[in-house]
């Protein structure tokens, strides 16, 4: 294992939600809201207003194979259906949809089918459907499956407590993913601030005897958990600038995904809840909870005994890659690992200044980009220059803006540059001008 050279060690702030490793189970919330726009395909509702649903009832799907269905997380009645969201009122009975128990499949195609039916996506943050990645992995004949338990972003502890509490399930889910992807070995990569999780995983595997699963511990460094960083660590070589991890025969999945795969394959349970860290300096009792998909942020804060003071920002996701929300009624979706209430003293202070070319962004960039050049290319709307400096390789880990002493919002600028790359610009190019 060759650890990540670039990136940097961040203050982790994980102590708050790690005062207990217990994952609290909450009473079903009164209302849940499901967003039908998962970022890839807009799902179509399969229920009508007034329908009764149970826990695990399919409420939205799409005919395309690239989509995953959405399941209700409470039992109750559908209150409202619109084009992009479904509101369900819970009757608090928490009845489960009865499913026929099936044989535990061993054929890869059956496992992939089950994973798709269970609505499993990448729970680490991207939300990309897992079955598509498994198909791609089979096509490219990968040799290694890496289960990412690094969780290097500050404040997040949901993967940590999941590994401590459900090591057997994660190992079984990993084995199912390994069979489905056709990989020869699987590596569960964990950072060294979670060594007890490594110990528990090794102990459980001693009895389960999955010969092809090994564990690895890596130094604490952000963003060790990114796909390319893990692939480089496992392969012990540097990936080419345009190679993806899958091209080199490595599939990276999150531990939360492995756990969801276990539940889908062994228990036939669709993905309707996940572990969410509710933390931040403004939260009275930071903790990890089993949050049903669609639970509003307000209810999750209430489960953590509320807020101590007025939060400066409320974030869905980690402090470097997450998004600030304006409203506490925003629901949890499948790919969100944390709900944070940040106070004023943590936020960046100071106004934006001119770049001093201190090259700290160059030092920390995990993809070896030059954020300063990209920033200038985006500001000048020079798309060819941005492409020359590989703007699409940026993973938006947020480190460049984190270290910038001039407080330039580099990550935001590069993100806007990437989105404008995909859309054709209105201005005519030089070629058309000449031809005209």
């Amino acid at each position: 294992m060759k650890p990540l050279k670039r990136g940097m060690t961040l203050p982790d702030f994980k102590y708050g939600s790690l005062s207990t490793t217990k994952i609290e189970r909450l009473a079903p919330p009164r209302f849940v809201t499901f967003s039908l726009d998962s970022g890839f395909i807009l799902l179509e509702p399969t229920v009508k207003e007034g329908d009764d649903v149970l826990v695990g009832t399919k409420i939205a799907a799409h005919s395309s194979y690239d989509s995953v269905p959405l399941h209700s997380s409470v039992s109750g009645r559908v209150v409202k259906v619109s084009t992009d969201s479904i509101l369900i009122e819970s009757n608090e009975a928490d009845q489960r949809e009865l499913s026929i128990r099936h044989e535990i499949p061993t054929e890869p195609s059956q496992i992939i089918q089950l994973i798709r039916e269970a609505g499993i996506v990448d729970l680490g943050g991207s939300g990309f459907p897992t079955h598509l990645r498994l198909h791609e992995a089979r096509e490219k004949q990968i040799h290694t499956l890496v289960i990412n338990g690094c969780e290097s972003e500050p404040f997040l502890t949901s993967d940590h407590v999941l590994m401590v509490n459900h090591a057997v399930e994660i190992l079984k889910g990993t084995e199912a993913l390994r069979l489905a992807s056709g990989a020869k070995r699987a590596v569960i990569a964990v950072e060294r601030n979670k060594l007890e999780a490594v110990e528990i995983l090794n102990t459980k595997n001693y009895h389960l005897k999955f010969q092809d699963i090994e564990t690895a511990h890596l130094p604490v460094r952000y963003p060790q958990g990114s796909e390319r960083a893990l692939a480089e660590s496992v392969l012990e070589k540097k990936l080419g600038p345009l190679e993806s991890a899958l091209d080199c025969g490595v599939l990276v999945e999150n531990v939360a995904t492995a756990f969801a795969v276990y539940e889908a394959v062994y228990l036939n349970k669709p993905l309707y809840e996940r572990v969410v860290t509710v933390a931040g300096p403004c939260v009275i009792e930071p903790k990890n909870v089993w949050a049903r998909i669609g639970t509003r942020s307000r209810d999750l804060f209430r489960s953590a005994k509320g807020l101590l003071r007025k939060p400066a920002r409320v974030l869905l996701g980690g402090p470097l890659t997450g998004k600030a929300i304006a409203d506490l009624d925003v629901p949890i979706t499948k790919q969100i690992p944390a709900l944070l209430a940040l106070s004023d003293e943590l936020l960046p202070k100071g106004s934006e200044q001119a770049c001093t070319r201190c090259a700290r962004c160059v030092d920390v960039c995990p993809e070896s980009l030059i954020p300063e050049k990209l920033m200038k290319a985006v500001v000048k709307e020079n798309q060819s220059l941005a492409l020359q400096y590989r703007i699409n390789s940026c993973t938006e880990c947020g480190l460049c803006a984190y270290v910038c002493p001039s407080h330039i919002p580099l990550t935001q600028l590069i993100h806007s540059g990437k989105t404008s790359q995909s859309q054709p610009s209105g201005a005519p190019s030089y070629a058309t001008l000449l031809e005209g």
Binding site: L320, A324, V403, P405
Partner: protein
């Protein structure tokens, strides 16, 4: 709990693009920390030269602040004297001055450094050539006769040796505080040392205090050096070689600082031409 249940949170909450954490560095802090680390050398020069040191420092600092404020006022910018960048230039410029320099020379030099080399290029950190080196070069052309006497650390006395040690000490602290990079200093000294002792170049004036000062304070200037890794090594190495070679072959007066200006001129070219597919 109280606060939350009474719904005292005003909605909508503030949003904005991430990341929502920051390391806490700022340009303001960087400048003033650098000035603070330079303080031992600053104080030691008073012991060595007394009133002359005070005269040079006072005039150059006052002029630098006045020129910067006046220029920013005249061009209707926000006045940013408090960021300490012009003070830094003034201190570095004074270190390049001989002991008996007349006042008008300091005035011209600071004017060139602050107005022409820094403010006209766009203000703080936008310069192409190091302002202190620029001011020094112009002053040297104006009145070379004033520069016949040596710099303040090379007076030959034990003060001079002490100040050389202090410069080295401040440079190491700058590096430990991560205010400068080690590559610039290291490769500059390495290549200058190799050129002088390895290739037996240069019997000319080899001023250890000046070389160390250039290595720690001028070579490590961020805006005028390369951002890419190869450039960070190559540019100081070229500068180090040039500073020895120029003084030997072409007998350019004070080649150490001239080499800085030459390397500043080629740094942007070096940065784009040494660009590999992999970025850095």
């Amino acid at each position: 709990m109280q606060l939350f249940l009474k719904d005292k949170i005003d909605l909508p909450l503030v949003t904005g693009a991430g990341p929502y954490l920051h390391e806490g560095r700022s340009n303001f802090k960087t400048n003033w920390h650098t000035l603070a680390v330079m303080l031992p050398v600053f104080l030691a020069s008073f012991f060595a030269f007394g009133w002359n040191a005070l005269r040079i420092y006072a005039i150059s600092m006052a002029c630098a602040i006045f020129f910067e404020a006046a220029f920013q006022k005249a061009t209707r910018q926000k006045i940013r004297v408090s960021d300490g960048s012009s003070l830094l230039i003034a201190v570095l410029f004074s270190w390049l001055m001989p002991e008996t320099v007349p006042i008008y020379v300091i005035l011209i030099g600071i004017f060139i450094a602050v107005i022409c080399a820094k403010e006209m290029f766009g203000g703080f950190a936008q310069h192409v050539f190091h302002p202190a080196a620029c001011g020094w070069a112009v002053v040297l052309c104006f009145s070379p006769s004033n520069f016949s006497s040596s710099f303040f650390w090379s007076s030959g006395s034990w003060f001079g040796t002490g100040i050389i040690f202090l410069i080295f000490f401040s440079g190491i602290i700058l590096w430990l505080k991560k205010l400068i990079r080690w590559e610039g200093t290291f490769f500059y000294l390495l290549s200058a040392g190799l050129a002088r002792y390895g290739l037996n170049l240069g019997g000319g004036n080899w001023d250890l205090g000046l070389v160390l000062m250039v290595a720690f304070f001028l070579m490590t200037d961020m805006p005028s050096s390369c951002m890419t890794k190869k450039g960070r090594i190559l540019i100081p190495a070229i500068t180090g070689f040039l500073s020895v070679a120029l003084s030997t072959w072409m007998s350019v007066p004070e080649a150490t600082v001239s080499a800085i200006l030459i390397s500043n001129a080629v740094a942007p070219l070096m940065e784009t031409s040494l660009e590999s597919v992999y970025g850095i």
